[in-house]
């Protein structure tokens, strides 16, 4: 378990990191916590010649408010996301999903931006990001641009980041007062999701007035369960109504088969878990 040789740099600013990335070209990889990258290197599934470690770029750490949005630094650890009071207040769904990521050791090392940029279809953070319509802020030699979550996830482990671009921040609109739940289904505690459902709802009286639902691992990219959302809005938050709406969860999905689940079982799970996630969110 010894990786192939590589050079290592640890810039301290975004500008330096972007420059290092530009200098290194295609052969560089960003180290943003390393909870996915290091195993890949150790198993020699990848052999980048340079690692650019963002661990010392302090400006990328932490959560702050910016008007109607929260800004989550890409290098904020999962552990910090989970216990952040701003996230608890304005983006509860993200905190709940993050608390299910892997195990405590990984959550202390792994980062919010690292996980999103890794774009593992079984990762737990992409579906909430998509459901909440977050914006990815990226930096490159050409400057800064933003990518909506709906355009960010392109394919398995593939994002809309261009060569030479870094994910630096994630802007999350405030969902103050929304109810949320992330329903994760896996076989052992530290495992990836077989299917996960991220749900956030606004409830007035007993009526669901707004709903946002994202699915983990139901396609090569996270899936927005728009059909479920439409079916929920205006409904009483009863188990029957929620269950009926959850039947739309498979729309637009293309689940794969693997050792844990075939496609039919994933589709079944998506419906059951969507129903449970929304029910739990409605409280």
């Amino acid at each position: 378990m010894i990786p192939a040789e590589f050079d290592y740099v640890a810039p301290t600013t975004v500008d330096d990191a972007v420059r290092a990335l530009a200098d290194a070209g295609d052969e560089a990889k960003i180290l943003a916590g390393g909870q996915s990258l290091i195993p890949v290197l150790r198993m020699r599934l990848a052999a980048p010649t340079k690692l650019i470690d963002l661990g010392k770029v302090t400006e990328l750490q932490g959560v702050r408010e910016d008007g109607g949005a929260l800004v989550i630094g890409a290098m904020t650890t999962h552990y910090d996301v989970v216990r952040d009071p701003l996230i608890a207040e304005h983006a509860k769904l993200i905190g709940m999903a993050t608390s299910t990521v892997a195990d405590p050791q990984v959550r202390h090392r792994g980062t919010f931006g690292g996980s999103l940029a890794h774009a593992d279809p079984a990762g737990d953070l992409a579906a909430p990001a998509l459901a909440l319509d977050v914006e990815m802020v990226v930096h490159g030699m050409d400057g800064r641009r933003t990518i909506p979550a709906s355009e960010f996830f392109v394919d398995y482990f593939t994002t809309a980041l261009r060569p030479g671009e870094l994910l630096t921040e994630v802007r999350v609109p405030k969902y103050t007062g929304w109810h949320a739940h992330y329903e994760k289904f896996n076989r052992v505690a530290q495992a990836w999701s077989i299917v996960g459902v991220a749900a956030a709802v606004q409830v007035e009286g007993h009526t669901i007035t707004q709903a946002r639902v994202g699915l983990t691992n139901m396609s090569s990219v996270p899936v927005r369960a728009s059909g479920v959302e439409r079916a929920l809005v205006g409904q009483e938050a009863t188990p029957e109504a929620i269950k009926a709406a959850a039947q739309h969860a498979v729309e637009g999905t293309m689940p794969v088969a693997d050792g844990n689940a075939d496609a039919a079982y994933r589709e079944h799970l998506a419906k059951v878990l969507t129903s449970r996630a929304v029910t739990a969110a409605c409280g």
């Binding site: 010894i2 052992v188 530290q190």
Partner: protein
């Protein structure tokens, strides 16, 4: 439960383990922590193909790479490496292929070593593997047990002419221990037939295997993360032709084994040969992925069982037909593992007719061999599942069927249909205690209630009233099974001049806590403080004889040898103490470390005797100046721990996910030396057995590639996945050894797997399910429910109504 020890008495005390601080922190002599002057590092190249001819290997690029001292291929080692040993030829006509440590012309499983690099650093060695170019000519893979023995099957080893290695049969009519099983089945009022799959498992010990070989002395020294330093030395001598006295093997601290390090490995042999060739120390440490792919696997059997019974529940016969996957080669005890199960299918039951037949089959997969329980978990699983199936068929409570057939407390010693004599046991007591702790009746009521209201979460109760044979083993029995060695163990005591004691044991601890337990036993025996005892093990130089540790044998065999040696120390000390106190040895009593002249207050301590012996100034005539003693103990029988395990499982019928709600284990392991160690063994064993039921499986794809090649795919559970265990013990001492102890190392693993699967099936039996293949993944459970619900004439239509032990109203019939 803790057993209150008498004041000053060590045995029975729940002492914290002496060895834990160093083992847990890792600040100790793990093999991979060893660094020797001039040491080189080895890395090996493994075949990605399951079955292929090697048409060409070009190592020339690797040889040019930085730091590389040697690159060798199978051709280079062909006439030196011999064939890896198999010590258990179960039949005279057993077919056993040549087992090279490094493949020469052909690879027979994915992960087999095809080349090795030795370099100055581990990184350089790993890099150089990429400079070796191997061409393969693919051969058809052999993966399925039934297909492997069908006519015209592709052959793993074409020169053997078959994929069948051997067939081993026990028949009670032939042995004279019971009736003919086919008659019992033909005349039975009820028969139940089931086929179970024992999935392939991976031992997954915490410390990957590691070996260091230092050839620079007169003796070649090998450090290895092994369970069997003594057997390894002998086998190196026999395999490689090196004189045995020129080899020293050390198992330093070893991080778990579970049978997975009961092996003479290809990597040990290759490291030995290359260290000799280069004249410098060489280290090899496997990666986790290498360990999962190439270290031996366990289980992997197809079990077909037929049980015959009367309608009142009395079992009248049991027929067991097995196919056992050997993998590509026969390793150290591979062929014998399923045979160990032959004696355990009848379990705790009085079965009047029994037939066992096992066919060992070659496939192009990683070799199998011992894994915690080795043959006995498979047997226990099958019989305990069958007892539940029989109960369902009869509409009886599964505990009642068991009780009706088990050996009663007053019937011990009892000779079983498979020829073993169980020395002691009390199944009634363990079961009564387990039921009480579990609230059996209350949970049955809740189960009925949930069924009645159609709860999406259904409750099931699983039972396992197990026993097992361990404490391997009486040498004469091993001889009768064609095993290549005896089953004795060696122990010795060295009395140091300061009164401190060195205990030498041939058992080879790899996490069990021997140092603590042996200290407790010797402290009581010799009356010396626990802290004054050091236990030496795992080095053929300090513990010159031994049969090592596996099969829950250390306490029942190894500690008995130590105890016997301690007896000899006292006997040797006695005349010297008498001489010191100017009395007759016959007038002496020995207790709590002190010789006392009977009826007086004149006494001398054993430490004083040790010092007097060291000085040797004034010893009785003809007495040698030494108290040191050794002993070899050969058990007269196996040890038969037993217990009743009850599991409550909740099955989410919407998702198929199973959650263990409660688990009660009441074990009877006889007298207990250290309840804390016993508790640890039970907990760890339970987790490992539950893991087979729910999580773990070595999965191969259709090309013979291991799909569960990392711990992200091979699901070893953590504490977060387990319920809180409720454990207790009943104590029926073994009558076979002086301590009254029985083995505990494998019990939890053997018992728990069927308890869990029985609970799952019980939870969803009313939905038409009578089996779920292991591991019972959510998808399998869900699919079983779908299959059962959709099939009107499915299992639910069978006699018994598919209603488990309960009728629709929830009452036991």
């Amino acid at each position: 439960m803790t057993t209150a020890a008498e004041p000053g008495q060590e045995v029975g005390k729940g002492r914290l383990r002496k060895e834990d601080a160093r083992l847990i922190t890792g600040r100790t002599r793990w093999t991979d922590n060893i660094s020797l002057p001039g040491m080189l590092h080895m890395a090996v190249l493994r075949s990605p193909m399951a079955h292929a001819r090697i048409t060409n290997i070009d190592p020339s690029e690797a040889r040019q790479m930085p730091g590389v001292l040697a690159v060798v291929t199978g051709a280079d080692l062909a006439d030196k490496q011999g064939s890896l040993p198999c010590a258990w030829p179960i039949a005279e006509d057993m077919k056993s292929p040549d087992a090279p440590s490094m493949a020469v012309n052909q690879v027979n499983f994915a992960g087999e070593v095809v080349a090795a690099v030795v370099a100055r650093s581990a990184a350089e060695a790993a890099d150089a593997l990429e400079g070796i170019d191997v061409d393969y000519d693919e051969l058809p893979v052999v993966l399925d047990l039934e297909q492997a023995i069908a006519d015209g099957a592709d052959l793993v080893h074409p020169d053997l002419g078959t994929n069948k290695s051997a067939t081993w049969i026990f028949d009670s009519a032939e042995a004279g221990t019971g009736g003919p099983v086919d008659e019992a089945i033909a005349s039975a009022e009820v028969t139940v037939e089931r086929t179970f799959r024992q999935q392939r498992l991976i031992p997954a010990f915490m410390e990957p295997r590691s070996v260091v070989v230092d050839p620079t002395g007169e003796q070649v020294t090998m450090w290895s993360a092994t369970q069997i330093p003594h057997i390894l030395r002998l086998m190196l001598a026999m395999t490689l032709g090196v004189p045995e006295h020129k080899v020293r093997v050390i198992a330093p601290d070893v991080g778990g084994g579970f049978g997975g390090k009961l092996q003479v490995t290809p990597e040990e042999v290759i490291t030995f040969l290359l260290a000799q060739q280069l004249g410098r120390p060489v280290k090899y440490t496997e990666t986790r992925s290498e360990s999962l792919a190439s270290a031996h696997h366990g289980r992997d059997q197809l079990q077909k069982l037929t049980i015959a019974a009367r309608r009142d529940g009395t079992v009248t016969g049991l027929k067991v037909e097995l196919l056992a996957d050997m993998g590509a080669y026969l390793r150290l005890v591979t062929p014998g593992v399923p045979i160990l199960g032959a004696f355990m299918y009848n379990a705790i039951y009085k079965i009047p007719a029994y037939h066992f037949a096992c066919t060992n089959v070659f496939t192009t997969k990683t070799p199998t061999d011992a894994y915690r329980g080795a043959g006995r978990p498979e047997a226990t699983f099958a019989i305990e599942r069958m007892m539940d199936e029989l109960a369902n068929e009869l509409g009886m409570d599964p505990l009642d069927v068991r009780e009706m057939n088990w050996i009663k407390h007053e019937e011990f010693p009892y000779t079983t249909v498979s020829t073993l004599t169980y020395d002691s046991g009390n199944y009634e007591a363990a079961t009564a205690r387990a039921k009480e702790l579990f609230d059996y009746d209350g949970l049955r009521r809740e189960q009925a209630e949930r069924r009645q209201r159609g709860d999406t979460v259904q409750l099931g109760i699983g039972i396992s009233t197990f026993t097992e044979m361990c404490g391997l083993a009486p040498s004469r029995v091993l001889g009768s099974l064609s095993y290549g060695a005896g089953g004795w163990e060696y122990g010795a005591i060295r009395m140091l001049p300061t009164g401190k004691v060195e205990v030498i044991t041939g058992s080879s601890a790899h996490g069990q806590g021997h140092e603590t337990a042996w200290s407790q036993i010797v402290a009581d025996k010799l009356g010396v403080p626990f802290e004054d005892i050091e236990v030496l093990h795992g080095d053929t130089q300090s513990s010159p004889r031994g049969m090592d540790t596996y099969g829950s044998r250390s306490l029942t065999v190894g500690a008995m040898a130590v105890l016997s040696a301690a007896d000899k120390v006292i006997e040797k000390a006695k005349p010297i103490a008498a001489h010191m106190m100017e009395c007759s040895p016959d007038d002496l009593e020995f207790a709590n470390g002190t010789f006392t002249v009977r009826g007086t207050d004149t006494s001398t301590g054993i430490a004083d005797v040790a010092l007097a012996v060291f000085a040797a100034h004034d010893l009785p005539d003809g007495v040698e100046p030494s108290l040191d003693s050794d002993a070899t103990f050969d058990p007269e029988n196996f040890s038969f721990p037993h217990g009743t395990h009850l599991c409550a499982a909740e099955a989410d019928t919407e998702t198929g996910q199973v959650r263990l709600r409660a688990y009660v284990a009441v074990d009877d392991v006889g007298k207990v030396v250290n309840p804390l160690i016993v508790e640890g063994q039970v907990h760890g064993g339970l987790v490992q057995g539950i893991a087979q039921a729910l999580f773990e499986e070595a999965v191969y794809d259709e090309s013979g590639t291991l799909m569960t090649g990392t711990l992200a795919d091979y699901l070893v559970p953590s504490a977060a996945d387990m319920p809180s265990f409720t454990t207790d013990r009943t104590e029926t001492p073994s009558t076979t050894n002086a301590l009254g102890v029985k083995g505990v190392g494998e019990a939890g693993t053997i018992a728990s797997t069927p308890a869990v699967v029985n609970a799952i099936v019980d939870a969803i039996r009313h939905m038409g399910v009578n089996d779920v293949e292991m591991p019972c993944t959510p998808m399998r459970v869900w699919q079983a429910i779908q299959g059962g619900a959709q099939s009107a004439a499915g299992p639910g239509a069978e006699p018994g109504g598919g209603m488990g032990s309960l009728d629709a109203e929830g009452g036991a019939r």
